[in-house]
Structure formats: structure tokens, C-alpha cells
């Protein structure tokens, strides 16, 4: 046992598998949450029939869990795995197979640098993160910007009209909103530069948000940079292709957009990639703007209890944000394509620049 725990390679492997498992589980249950919340908003029960033989037959708990739809993600996953997987004859085969992989890998890679908790010991504080690198946020922006290739290639390789339109729309949309997203983040890092020494590390940013102004107001970024938070959130919706920005797959005019020609496991990869992107994006928003694992006015205890609590707080905040994603999807109508472009270039980008300049001046005034 000690041998296993002292080997850094095996330890890293265990940690990675744990994180991947948690995020994948969250992605599966985010799909269930989506269907349940959608049903609730539309006044219907949502998935409530799928039942596991033994667990579902327990006296009171069984029917309750079945009605909650707890077993539904397993059925969904099994369907993705065992369904017949036809490849249409007219596709460009190499890129057709490559596209789902390319859209899945970046979504999984970004989770390595996202800190999700802290471990307080007598010697100091350790971040709970797979790789605590100095340029964490740039890494996330860079890797997640590669995810667009999956969608473009899927649209192009499908070699038919609707997927192609979906792919073209996706590339234009993602390039447009990346700029506003990056610009809305700059003031956050400048604001916390005295605490973090100007590093781009996500853990330091979260730790800096643990303080209070005048011992009353928690130093969460969202309280003193609300505009930046709003711009980042809107860009996040656009980057994850969620409604009201789901241009690439708007089913009313493009059938299913870029993934029209995909089925079974390949479609499942797109699907999982999208939900993973939402989860990691929510996590980044929580870390940068909502104080991460910090609670207002309450300090976390040291040791294992504090570590578990910090992860729980982080997860609760992330889940609240995922709920917001779902809520918005079933509440707002979809934008028209030209409205998406207008919003991105003519409203969000100038606002982000103005926000940046405003905080530039403010920080200079405070520091002088």
C-alpha cells in the first residue's frame, strides 16, 4: 500500500482518474439535470421510467429513485455504446472520424489546471489540482480554443449542406466571442496583482478572493467587477454553443447542425464534450468570479475536513452555475445569426474594452 502511495507516477494516475471520473459523472448527470429541469419548466415530469433491476425494486427508495430518473444516464450511456454505428457513404472518412475526438480531447484537457479545493496543513496551503501551472488561465483559453476544430471538421467532413452551415457558423461565433472573453479576464488578474504577484495562476486568484474588504464584504470578483463577470458569462454561453447561442446546431433551421451525420458513439463524444465544456467553464467562472471554495465570513478548518468542505463548496457553486446554463436554455429563444454577430462585435467587444480601460484607470488611481 505504501509502495503505491509513494510512487508519484501511480499517485498522479490515481488522482487523474478520480478527477476524470468525477467530471464524467457530472457530465452524465448534467444531461439528466437538463432533461429534468426542462421537464419541470415545461410542466411535465421528464425521464421517470428507467429502472435498474435490483436497486429499482427496493420497497420505497426504488420507485423514488426511478421517478427521479437516477438510472437514466446509464441507459443513455449504454445506448451510445451499443447502438449500430453506420458511416454515411458521402463523408470524408478520415476527418469524419477525427472530428469527435478533436472536440472531446480539449474539453477533457482543460480540467488539469482547474483548482477545485485546498488542503490546509500546519506547513501551509496546498492546492487540490492536477497541475498547478503558472499560466493556468492562458492554458485553459488556449486549449479550449482548439475545441472549435472538432465542430468545423465535423461540418466539413460530413459533406452535406446543413452540417457545413453549422460548422461555418461555429467557427465565426467562437472566434468572435474569444476576444471579449479574454479581455473581460484581464482586469481580474490586474486587480489581484498585489496579492498574487502578477501571476496568471488560478489558485492564487481564488486564494486572493478569500479576504474581506473592511472585514464585511467578501472580496469576490463578481462584487466589484460585475460587468466583467457578465461579459465573461455571455461569452462562455457562446463558446460552449449553448442556447441562446446554439447557432451551430439550431435544430429549427439546420436539422441538428454540425452533428447531423453522426450517430451512436461518435455523437456521444460530441455530446459529452459539450457538457464537459460547460462543467469546466462553470468551474473557471466560479474560480475567477465567485470566490472558488471561499465562503463569506467563514474560514475553512485545517486538515481533511477543510479539504472536503472546500471541494464541496466549489462543487455546489459549479452546480448552481450549471443550473443557470440549463435554466437559460429553456427560457430564452435562440438569437438569429446576425444578432449573434452584432452582439459579439458591436456590443460585447467594445464593452469589454471599456471595462478593461476603466479598471486600468481605477487600479492606477488606487495604487498611486
Amino acid at each position: 500500500m505504501d509502495f503505491i502511495l509513494e510512487n508519484p507516477l501511480i499517485l498522479a494516475l490515481i488522482k487523474s482518474l478520480l478527477v476524470v471520473g468525477v467530471v464524467m459523472g457530472m457530465a452524465a448527470y448534467a444531461v439528466l439535470a437538463e432533461r429534468k429541469v426542462c421537464g419541470w419548466i415545461q410542466g411535465r415530469p421528464g425521464p421517470n421510467r428507467t429502472k435498474l433491476p435490483l436497486l429499482g425494486d427496493l420497497p420505497i427508495i426504488g420507485p423514488f429513485l426511478t421517478r427521479l430518473g437516477i438510472f437514466q444516464p446509464m441507459a443513455d450511456g449504454l445506448k451510445f455504446l451499443v447502438k449500430e454505428e453506420p458511416t454515411p457513404g458521402h463523408v470524408k472518412r478520415f476527418y469524419y472520424v477525427l472530428a469527435p475526438i478533436v472536440s472531446f480531447i480539449p474539453a477533457m484537457t482543460t480540467m488539469t489546471v482547474l483548482p477545485f479545493g485546498l488542503w490546509k496543513t500546519a506547513d501551509g496551503v496546498q492546492p487540490l489540482v492536477l497541475a498547478n501551472i503558472d499560466i493556468g488561465i492562458l492554458f485553459i483559453l488556449a486549449v479550449s480554443s482548439l475545441g472549435v476544430y472538432g465542430i468545423i471538421l465535423a461540418g466539413w467532413a460530413s459533406n452535406s449542406k446543413y452540417p457545413f452551415l453549422g460548422g461555418i457558423r461555429a467557427s465565426a461565433q467562437m472566434i468572435s466571442y474569444e476576444l471579449a472573453m479574454g479581455l473581460s479576464l484581464l482586469p481580474v488578474f490586474m486587480w489581484f496583482a498585489p496579492e498574487t504577484g502578477g501571476s496568471l495562476n488560478l489558485f492564487n486568484i481564488v486564494q486572493a478572493q478569500g479576504n474581506h474588504y473592511w472585514n464585511v464584504i467578501p472580496q469576490w470578483t463578481v462584487f466589484f467587477q460585475p460587468l466583467g463577470a457578465l461579459i465573461f458569462l455571455v461569452s462562455l454561453f457562446a463558446e460552449t454553443n449553448r442556447a441562446p447561442f446554439d447557432m451551430p446546431e439550431s435544430e429549427t433551421d439546420l436539422v441538428a447542425g454540425f452533428n447531423t451525420e453522426y450517430g451512436a458513439f461518435k455523437f456521444g463524444l460530441f455530446f459529452l464534450g459539450e457538457y464537459t465544456h460547460i462543467i469546466i467553464g462553470s468551474g473557471v467562472f466560479v474560480a475567477l468570479f465567485l470566490g472558488g471554495w471561499n465562503l463569506p465570513w467563514i474560514g475553512l478548518p485545517a486538515g481533511i475536513l477543510g479539504a472536503v468542505l472546500s471541494v464541496l463548496v466549489f462543487l455546489v457553486k459549479t452546480c448552481a452555475l450549471i443550473f443557470l446554463f440549463i435554466w437559460v436554455r429553456w427560457t430564452l429563444p435562440r438569437f438569429r445569426y446576425d444578432q449573434v454577430m452584432n452582439l459579439g462585435w458591436k456590443k460585447l467587444l467594445p464593452l469589454a474594452v471599456a471595462n478593461f480601460v476603466l479598471y486600468l484607470i481605477l487600479i492606477a488611481l488606487i495604487e498611486s
Binding site: 476527418y95 488556449a142 486549449v143 480554443s145 476544430y149 468545423i152 466539413w156 461555418i168 467557427s171 502578477g198
Partner: protein
């Protein structure tokens, strides 16, 4: 030892993918190989411990510029464009061979001073100059301010040129409000 092998791997990736960019018949293949080549360069930057440059390489080149390339390639459907003339292919090959030979000649000549002066005074604690964002920014806005500004000005001119070329000005009377998109 491992870093040596990684260097060979990334160097080979960069060069081979770079060759394939030039040799590919299909422009989409060329663009995808270009991404591979950029990823190889980013890997080389990581081996040099200039993580900031590595991430910028991915963020700017692989993440944004090649996306635009693909966007254009797909919009103009280059499979229907006329094939380049044989003479121009041979000419390009000759120029490339000449440049390669010249570069090797420069490498062989011991008297030629290669541009090795990479801001040695801005090294901090044995790290490469652009290791962190802070060092990168300080050097960019002090020592290399003029080239930086000139590059920015060139980009601005290019941007204005694009707007002038792509925008078709029409008389106001013929324009319909909320026209079709």
C-alpha cells in the same frame, strides 16, 4: 535524456508537418498539418521552459489564425480552383532549394555572426527571457518597444486595407433596411 528524445520528437513533428503543409494537394490537409507544426513549435518552447510563448503559440496561431484559414478554405471551395502552372511549381522548388542551400552555407561559415544576442541582460535567474508573462511584458514594452509599435502599426494598416477592400459602398437609397442576410 528524456528531454533530448522529446526535442527530437517535436523537431521532427515541426519539420515533417511543415513539409506536408507545402506538399499537400488538399488545402484542408495543409491547414491541419500547419496546426501539427505549430503544436510541435509549442512543444519546443515548452522544452526551452518558455511556457508563456508556448501557450501563446497555441492560443494565437493554432487556436485563431488556422481557424480563419479553414474558414476561408471552406468558403471558397478550392478544389474547383485551377491547378498552379507547372513552371511556377518548378520555380518555387528552385527558390526553396536555393534558400536552404544558402542557410546551410551561413551555418557552415564560421565568420558570420548569427543573431544569438537574445537579450542576455533580461535573463532572470537562469530562465529564458520570455518565461513568464511579467518578464515578457517588461521586455516588450522597454527594450523592444519600437519593433513592437511598428508591428502594431503594420497590423493596423492591414486591417484598414481589409475594411476598404471587403466593404462595398453603395448609395444609401438602394440599401434596404433589415435586408436579407
Amino acid at each position: 535524456m528524456v528531454t533530448d528524445w522529446l526535442f527530437y520528437f517535436f523537431a521532427a513533428l515541426t519539420v515533417i508537418a511543415g513539409f506536408l503543409v507545402a506538399l499537400s494537394r488538399s488545402p484542408v490537409n495543409a491547414a491541419m498539418n500547419m496546426i501539427l507544426s505549430f503544436i510541435g513549435i509549442a512543444g519546443l518552447f515548452v522544452l526551452l521552459e518558455t511556457f508563456f510563448l508556448a501557450v501563446l503559440q497555441i492560443l494565437v496561431y493554432a487556436g485563431a489564425i488556422v481557424v480563419l484559414f479553414l474558414f476561408i478554405i471552406m468558403l471558397i471551395d478550392p478544389e474547383r480552383l485551377p491547378k498552379p502552372h507547372k513552371l511556377s511549381t518548378i520555380g518555387s522548388a528552385l527558390v526553396a532549394a536555393g534558400l536552404t542551400a544558402g542557410w546551410f552555407a551561413v551555418l557552415q561559415a564560421p565568420t558570420v555572426a548569427l543573431p544569438t544576442k537574445v537579450a542576455a541582460e533580461s535573463f532572470t535567474g537562469g530562465r529564458a527571457p520570455a518565461a513568464t508573462a511579467r518578464v515578457f511584458g517588461e521586455v516588450l514594452f522597454s527594450q523592444y518597444l519600437l519593433p513592437f509599435e511598428v508591428a502594431g502599426f503594420l497590423l493596423l494598416i492591414a486591417m484598414l486595407g481589409v475594411i476598404v477592400i471587403s466593404k462595398h459602398y453603395r448609395p444609401a437609397t438602394t440599401r434596404k433596411e433589415g435586408g436579407s442576410v
